[in-house]
């Protein structure tokens, strides 16, 4: 009964979404305020429907209703409750339901917070979101319903893939979807702007907090995913340039470019059509990612080709949504007149360069992801594009961004002054150069080209960003008043840029000085890595809630002192007969010590993989800084307090157009 209710709720949501898409459009044509204001109610109704559907599916998982095919596939009676709740998004169908729930949540938020917008703009934005939702509801109902019954019902479920039974993974997909889906709001704003032709500073100001919020979730989602992969997969990697990772990274790059170009459009009224294109692009790349992941078009381990109808539907959906948007763009964008002068050495000029490098970096990632497919389709050859390509091309393309990030806070709008810029950046530059030389030696006792470059770029980004806040604080007589006087938006930018610097320090540190070792150790034997002694003490059985594990005990000593006891495991999940290695990590800000268990031998010895990972935490710390930077920027007071001002601004803008 409950699954049927859920299914029915999805159908209902589809109906409401259709109305939400069509009615406001009619209202806009007829200039009918009642029809326009229907959009908000529809958004709220749609959210209720899909939330009910989602609750139904969760209920099925919690109550272990194996008569539902999707539940039987991904649930198990032994599965701990928390993972029964997260298992809802444990595979294609349920994760799609989560996707539409989040999309509907964003729509709801738009309908609530956008009451200050002119009615027609807000209604059109909701209408576009309704169209996107409609597509996804159709996708669910036609190809991927999670509520399909299984007759006869099996006595036991197939279980959630054990690798997903991890807290990191429990929150990674929702975060990532918040980002992916969040770009749909910027997309909807862009479409509404193209339809109405109203694209001005006020529009950019409305769009900015939504975009920043989506971006910050995507940042967090990617960061969490990286951390999870590092800890869960047992070989110490944190980024693999896998096509599926690239699928999440391309929207991030486009979204980052969008955040910056929105600033230019808001402050200077420039780059209008470019900003609109980026807004379309960021969401299109999110859709592309979804398609690549779910269609099986790239190498995937699916033993049998994934259901071709899903790929076909997604492709058709993408063609309609993105094709429609770009057609509208080709038709309307030439009419968006941009006025005002652009000096290359000004904040807007530098942001334009920032956009160029980010977009081309995204293009390089896209080329690397898709070229194998192109060559295969053309029947030329089958080749691989992996880390050796990206590490070269991508790094060359983003290196200039580090120079720019330091200049960003210092160079003013409209026209920069070389001498003033040099004067203010002198101190950060000197600090960065000194640390370039000193830092690798101080931390690791030696240096490499990469480590020095990373220290230079990282310290430059950090200190150049910090000096801006420092200068603002110093401008006030009292430091607490000074701190308060710094707007949140500036804090946000500063934190995000510092995060980038921290990230660079982490990457260059771990790549330059990280070390690893494969060893086979008998009981009591030890091995040395990175100045640490790893002694393999014993291995024994350990029982978990739904698995049994072989657990090793490894004592780590440094300078004759015991500093950590690690327990790497090899788990057997009997429900699927899956064996997983569970690494054990002694985490520290400056270094991780990482041990994972390999194979056991008849004489009682084990093979182990031991890693020394200096500064790897900086990589995720950088992501966390960016996340909070985004949070501060998106919550800046001027977005909240500008209601009346915006209304007046709209009137003036409309007056100017008329």
């Amino acid at each position: 009964m409950i699954p049927e209710l859920g299914h029915f709720a999805v159908i209902l949501a589809l109906g409401v979404a259709l109305l939400q898409a069509i009615v406001p459009l009619l209202g806009w044509r007829r200039r009918d305020a009642r029809l326009l204001s229907f959009a908000g109610s529809a958004a709220q109704g749609q959210f209720l429907c899909i939330a009910a559907a989602y609750a139904c599916l969760t209920y099925c998982f919690v109550t272990k209703d194996f008569s539902v095919a999707y539940v039987a596939e991904n649930d198990h009676s032994q599965l701990p409750l928390i993972y029964r709740i997260t298992a809802v998004w444990g595979a294609h169908e349920g994760s799609l339901l989560l996707w539409v729930l989040i999309l509907s949540g964003w729509t709801l938020a738009v309908s609530v917070f956008n009451r200050r917008l002119p009615l027609d703009m807000s209604a059109l934005v909701l209408s576009v979101l309704g169209m996107v939702s409609t597509g996804f509801y159709l996708f669910i109902l036609l190809t991927s319903s999670p509520f399909t019954r299984l007759v006869p019902a099996p006595a036991e479920g197939h279980d959630l893939n054990p690798i997903l039974q991890d807290p990191g993974l429990a929150i990674h997909p929702p975060m990532l979807y918040m980002g992916y889906v969040g770009f749909s709001v910027a997309f909807a704003f862009a479409i509404a702007a193209l339809i109405t032709g109203r694209l001005d500073a006020a529009w950019a100001r409305w769009t900015r907090p939504w975009t920043t919020t989506a971006w910050m979730f995507l940042t967090m989602g990617i960061t969490l995913g990286s951390w999870w992969a590092y800890k869960e997969l047992g070989w110490g990697g944190w980024w693999f340039w896998d096509p599926v990772e690239n699928a999440s990274f391309m929207p991030w790059l486009a979204g980052t470019a969008l955040i910056h170009s929105l600033a230019v459009t808001e402050k200077r009224g420039l780059l209008k059509s470019w900003t609109v294109l980026l807004a379309i692009l960021a969401f299109s790349l999110s859709l592309l990612g979804t398609f690549l992941v779910r269609s099986g078009v790239l190498v995937s381990v699916h033993a049998f080709a994934s259901d071709p109808s899903r790929g076909t539907f997604m492709l058709a959906f993408m063609a309609v949504v993105v094709g429609g948007a770009l057609t509208l763009f080709a038709w309307r964008a030439p009419k968006l007149i941009t006025t005002g002068e652009l000096q290359l050495f000004s904040r807007e000029g530098l942001l334009l360069f920032n956009n160029l490098f980010l977009v081309i970096a995204a293009a390089a990632v896209l080329a690397g992801t898709l070229l194998p497919l192109v060559l295969d389709v053309l029947g030329i050859t089958k080749l691989s594009v992996g880390p050796p390509y990206y590490n070269v091309v991508f790094l060359i393309l983003i290196a200039p961004l580090f120079l720019l990030v330091g200049l960003a806070a210092v160079v003013p709008w409209k026209r920069g002054d070389w001498r003033e810029t040099a004067r203010r950046l002198k101190v950060p530059a000197i600090i960065a150069v000194i640390l370039m030389v000193v830092l690798p030696f101080a931390l690791h006792g030696r240096t490499t080209l990469l480590a020095a470059t990373g220290a230079l770029f990282g310290c430059w980004a950090i200190f150049a960003a910090a000096q801006d806040v420092w200068r603002r604080v110093r401008a006030k007589p009292e430091w607490r008043a000074g701190l308060r006087a710094v707007p949140r938006a500036v804090w946000g930018m500063t934190l995000a840029h510092i995060g980038l610097g921290i990230w660079a320090l982490g990457v260059s540190g771990v790549v330059s000085f990280g070390d690893e070792k494969d060893v086979r150790l008998a009981r009591g034997a030890e091995t040395e890595l990175g100045g640490y002694n790893f002694r393999f003490q014993e291995a024994g059985e350990q029982a978990g809630p739904n698995y049994t594990a072989q657990q090793g005990t490894v004592l780590v000593e440094h300078g004759g002192k015991l500093i950590a006891t690690l327990h790497p495991q090899k788990r057997l999940y009997p429900s699927q007969g899956t064996v997983l290695t569970e690494s054990s990590i002694d985490a520290g800000l400056m270094r991780d010590l990482y041990v994972s268990l390999g194979e056991s031998y008849d004489d009682g010895s084990w093979s182990l993989r031991v890693y020394y990972k200096p500064m790897i935490r900086f990589i995720w710390l950088g992501g966390i800084f960016m996340f909070f930077g985004g949070l501060l920027a998106a919550s800046d007071r001027r977005y909240r307090l500008a209601r009346a001002a915006e209304r007046r601004a709209i009137e003036i803008a409309e007056g100017a157009v008329a």
């Binding site: 099986g296 190498v299 995937s300 057609t327 964008a333 389709v377 089958k382």
Partner: protein, 172 residues
């Protein structure tokens, strides 16, 4: 004009994906096609002759089938291989890949032996030289010992009739 560039790119991508979806991304074309069969020297299962090498594959077209008793795809194709060798003139050489003789013999006894000759590649070295990455894989060799076709995955009537037979006809 330049405002239509994104649309053109999109159309190209959609086309790419449309055709891309009809390809299996896992299948690898063999670089060995058109080349002589790689050298090997492997013991035979029945011991007559004791060992065989690539030279023994020349003289007539032959199918070289990498298989193993532990491999599910091999079970799947096995009945068809039986049928194929019963009904046609084709010579079938099996290379038993990383498989213990103690496992192989009962498997053959139970299911039947379609192979004219079985070579054992316990260590998988021949497999590497032939570029095998997942059994079953079947190579088609012409009379001169040149590889003219490779099938990854179970042999099926469709593959045999549509791809291999015409090739064999063309070469003979």
């Amino acid at each position: 004009m330049r405002y239509t560039i994104p649309l053109v790119v999109l159309i190209a991508l959609i086309g790419l994906f449309f055709f891309g979806m009809q390809h299996d991304p896992r299948l690898l074309p063999s670089p060995l096609i058109g080349k002589a069969a790689p050298a090997f020297d492997l013991p035979t299962l029945d011991g007559t002759p004791q060992r065989m090498s690539q030279a023994d594959l020349q003289g007539a077209p032959v199918l070289v089938n990498f298989f193993a008793s532990w491999c599910a795809g091999c079970q799947e194709e096995h009945p068809y291989l039986m049928q194929l060798t019963r009904n046609s003139q084709v010579k079938l050489v099996g290379i038993d890949y990383k498989d213990a003789e103690a496992d192989l013999r009962p498997w053959l006894n139970h299911k039947g032996n379609p192979y004219g000759q079985i070579l054992t590649d316990l260590e998988g070295r021949a497999g590497i030289d032939w570029g095998v990455y997942g059994v079953p894989e079947t190579f088609v060799l012409d009379a001169k010992g040149t590889i003219i076709y490779k099938q990854v995955g179970p042999m099926t009537p469709e593959v045999w009739e549509h791809d291999i037979q015409p090739l064999l006809k063309a070469t003979s």
